[in-house]
């Protein structure tokens, strides 16, 4: 079935890197495995009174959403779809610790109220006075992709649907994030993020961020990219992934030749990076290959950064060296394929076109 068109007309990234600085060669390097996101000046976007009560996920989410909408010239979208892999962890942790430390006594509800996964989606609806369709997905590393799949469906179903706000957001919290050392999601030794992809050990580095996009069924002069297709799937082997990619290209009437560049989710975890290496040495050996998690860390909605990066590459026509995994070059890529997985699960593919 032919999808309705889905255009990305506004983008925003809050991550461990300053939004546009990477394109000017200004890279933040860190020597720690848990990296906080660089905060923009939230006061420009959120009332100071409200700001004080907000966890970082809410701050980042609202701010990123507002930037993306403003760029696209949208004041009130028709629908809001949010993705978060681990939800509002800071408030969850705060309320949980209060329960445990105070033995269930004398608890105040603020942290509980803000702990639900749909807090950001709900806050966005209130701020934008948007009573339209509103859903929050939380499917680990496929949370953001689940959002895009729903958006695709909404456009397909409803001819009146014109603009949808979509995004992914995740935050660090003190204890719950540090547990990731204990079950080997993070590397044992602290490393420099710039060396992430050169390490040969298990685990990765983590961070936080928000990536929102204003999307529309109509192309405009603001359009960065068209989302050709998105897929979330389960795969046991690297071969399964190649097979899935070929099948998906076929369904979209694309061939492997049409792909100008790939953005891969390599995160330096030697237990699972074979999923990427297999593509790098196989299906995509002739293609320019980019990676980004050595700049952003890995977290459940980080693939939003990959979409942001693809959009920036389309718009600027430039590809900063820091992202390159190989020496294959290309001028003005037209079609970019993104592939990601985490711990061998929740695989996803997205295909974007600059049109």
């Amino acid at each position: 079935m032919k999808n309705n068109r889905l255009y990305i007309n506004g983008i925003s990234s809050i991550s461990a890197q300053q939004e546009n600085a990477v394109f000017d060669g200004n890279i933040n390097t860190y020597h720690q495995n848990i990296i906080p996101a660089v905060s923009p000046d939230y006061k420009q976007f959120i009332q100071p009174m409200a700001l004080r009560r907000m966890s970082k996920a809410i701050r980042m989410g609202l701010t990123s959403a507002k930037i993306a909408l403003k760029q696209a010239g949208i004041t009130k979208p028709d629908a809001i779809i949010t993705g978060t892999g681990e939800g509002c962890k800071q408030d969850t942790e705060k309320f949980l610790e209060a329960i445990l430390n105070q033995n269930e006594k004398l608890l105040t509800p603020t942290a509980f109220i803000q702990s639900t996964h749909n807090t950001i989606g709900g806050q966005l609806a209130q701020y934008l006075e948007c009573t339209g369709y509103n859903v929050t997905y939380t499917q680990n590393s496929a949370s953001f992709e689940s959002v895009l799949m729903d958006a695709q469906l909404l456009f397909l179903e409803d001819q009146e649907m014109n603009s949808i706000l979509v995004g992914g957001v995740d935050e660090l919290s003190k204890k719950m994030t540090s547990f990731m050392y204990l079950d080997h999601q993070l590397k044992e030794q602290e490393i420099s993020n710039s060396n992430l992809l050169k390490t040969n050990s298990s685990g990765t580095i983590t961070s936080e961020g928000a990536h929102f996009f204003s999307i529309s069924a109509e192309k405009s002069e603001k359009t960065y990219a068209e989302l050709i297709d998105v897929s979330v799937f389960q795969a046991k082997t690297s071969e399964d992934v190649s097979e899935k990619i070929l099948k998906m290209l076929q369904l979209s009437n694309y061939t492997i030749e049409d792909i100008d560049l790939v953005i891969l989710g390599n995160n330096g975890d030697n237990r699972f990076d074979h999923f990427y290496h297999h593509l790098q040495n196989g299906l995509f050996s002739e293609k320019p290959q980019l990676a980004y998690k050595h700049l952003t860390g890995d977290y459940k909605t980080v693939s939003g950064y990959a979409v942001w990066l693809a959009c920036k590459i389309f718009k600027t026509g430039s590809i900063p060296e820091i992202f390159k995994l190989n020496g294959v070059t290309c001028q003005n890529p037209k079609t970019i394929l993104l592939y990601n997985q985490y711990l061998g699960d929740n695989h996803s593919i997205m295909i974007l076109n600059s049109n």
């Binding site: 939800g87 608890l107 509800p109 509980f112 806050q123 609806a125 499917q139």
Partner: protein, 397 residues
């Protein structure tokens, strides 16, 4: 109107029992599942809950899990309920390969986290539960336990989560994106939610009295419920339990935890569901209300119902006094109850109702009622303003 999406299987575990049959028996007997916490270790032993009276060990036994499994309580519930649904739908091994799984949950594996949080740093014993806190983990485990190999995702919109999961499944089948999908949700009682709702002062110390003038709060519950949805072209003459003919999702855009006075979100969700179903409000024979028995919800929901139905409010009842409010799972539980109502032409009573609320004078059905039912509206509203309404219809032969 079009036929709607076929439901070919359903499964449920709640305080009323561990199968659709057990739940139905309790519903027609007017027998509440509310009790006091025994499995959940909490100081709030005075607060009634709809607790499933099986320990995690007993539940894991029902699923023949190995000793070192990573199933938290919500995962155990989910696997049990989804299994019942799949077995009723007679899905084959081959069918399962292209069957999706869409689950709603609010706190996922929080019960594991609150048990082991303080020991993780010191001891290695339970670290396998660290990732299990996150809702997507719960969903993936159920999918993999039951060999569901197509699209797997999780929706977390508080108390409307599983209603949204059902809606997404129906939409995906309608759009031809999936042939088969298991949809619903799961949530377990946890100290986190019990204390959360308690700190908001919306838990009742008595058994909840939805839509009653003296209602003073909700009771929490736990459980899971799933439906199997199938596209018409793969039914092959299989029995159809009912159809999902309408669905609507809207946001109240008013407050993080309270519903607006006008019930705007609820109103819009019901309106959209009727539009999708191609039905007028006159066609609705029964409303399975969200009816949590908080002051705020029941008034806001009643207002929305009056705005839609005017003078002719159909029979309605809340089944929360049977099961407690099972949060993210409630839309799933109430979908099963709606299908049971359709199959048996019975309206399950709104227990503990005595006096209509002053503002609206609406009277729910308070004793089991026999009535021909064609279309049922089921409401689920949650924190974050998330409102979803579903319409279940009898299968036309």
């Amino acid at each position: 109107m079009d036929k709607g999406i076929a439901v070919t299987g359903m499964g449920i575990i709640s305080a009323l029992g561990t199968s659709a049959g057990e739940n139905y028996s309790a519903l027609i007997a007017g027998k509440t599942g509310l009790s006091y916490p025994e499995i959940l270790k909490t100081i709030h032993s005075n607060l009634p809950v709809g607790e499933v009276k099986f320990s995690n060990l007993e539940l894991a036994g029902k699923l023949n899990l190995p000793v070192a499994h990573t199933f938290t309580r919500a995962t155990l519930f989910g696997a049990i309920a989804a299994k019942e649904a799949i077995s009723q739908a007679l899905l084959t091994k081959d069918d399962l390969k292209d069957t999706g799984f869409i689950s709603g949950t609010s706190v996922g594996g929080m019960d594991g986290t609150e048990k082991y949080y303080l020991e993780y740093a010191e001891k290695n014993d339970h670290r396998r539960f660290i990732q299990a806190q996150h809702p997507g983990f719960t969903t993936s485990q159920i999918a993999s336990h039951l060999n569901l190999e197509a699209y797997v995702t999780t929706i977390s919109t508080a108390c409307s989560s599983s209603a949204n999961a059902i809606m997404l499944g129906a939409r995906m089948i309608k759009a031809g994106k999936l042939k088969r999908v298991v949809v619903g949700g799961t949530d377990c009682l946890s100290k986190f939610t019990l204390n959360g709702f308690n700190s908001l002062m919306i838990l009742s110390e008595g058994f909840c009295k939805a839509f009653d003038d003296s209602r003073n709060g909700l009771n929490l519950g736990e459980g899971a419920a799933y439906l199997v949805l199938e596209a018409d072209d793969v039914l092959n003459g299989k029995p159809v339990l009912g159809r999902i003919s309408g669905y609507g999702n809207a946001n109240d855009a008013f407050h993080q935890t309270a519903s607006s006075e006008t019930g705007q979100g609820a109103f819009l969700a019901i309106k959209k569901a009727l539009e999708i179903a191609g039905l007028s409000s006159k066609n609705i024979d029964y409303i399975n209300a969200h009816g949590t028995a908080t002051k705020n919800n029941d008034l806001s929901e009643s207002t929305a119902i009056l705005r839609i139905f005017g003078e002719k409010v159909p029979d309605f009842s809340s089944t929360k006094a049977f099961t407690g409010h099972t949060l993210a799972a409630s839309g799933g539980l109430e979908a099963v109850f709606s299908l049971l109502a359709l199959q048996n032409d019975q309206i399950f009573p709104n227990l503990n109702f005595e006096i209509p609320m002053k503002e609206t004078r609406l009277k729910p059905v308070s004793v089991l009622k026999k009535k021909k039912l064609q279309h049922i509206l089921s409401n689920s509203f949650g924190f974050g303003g998330n409102c979803t309404s579903l319409i279940f219809s009898k299968n036309e032969k």
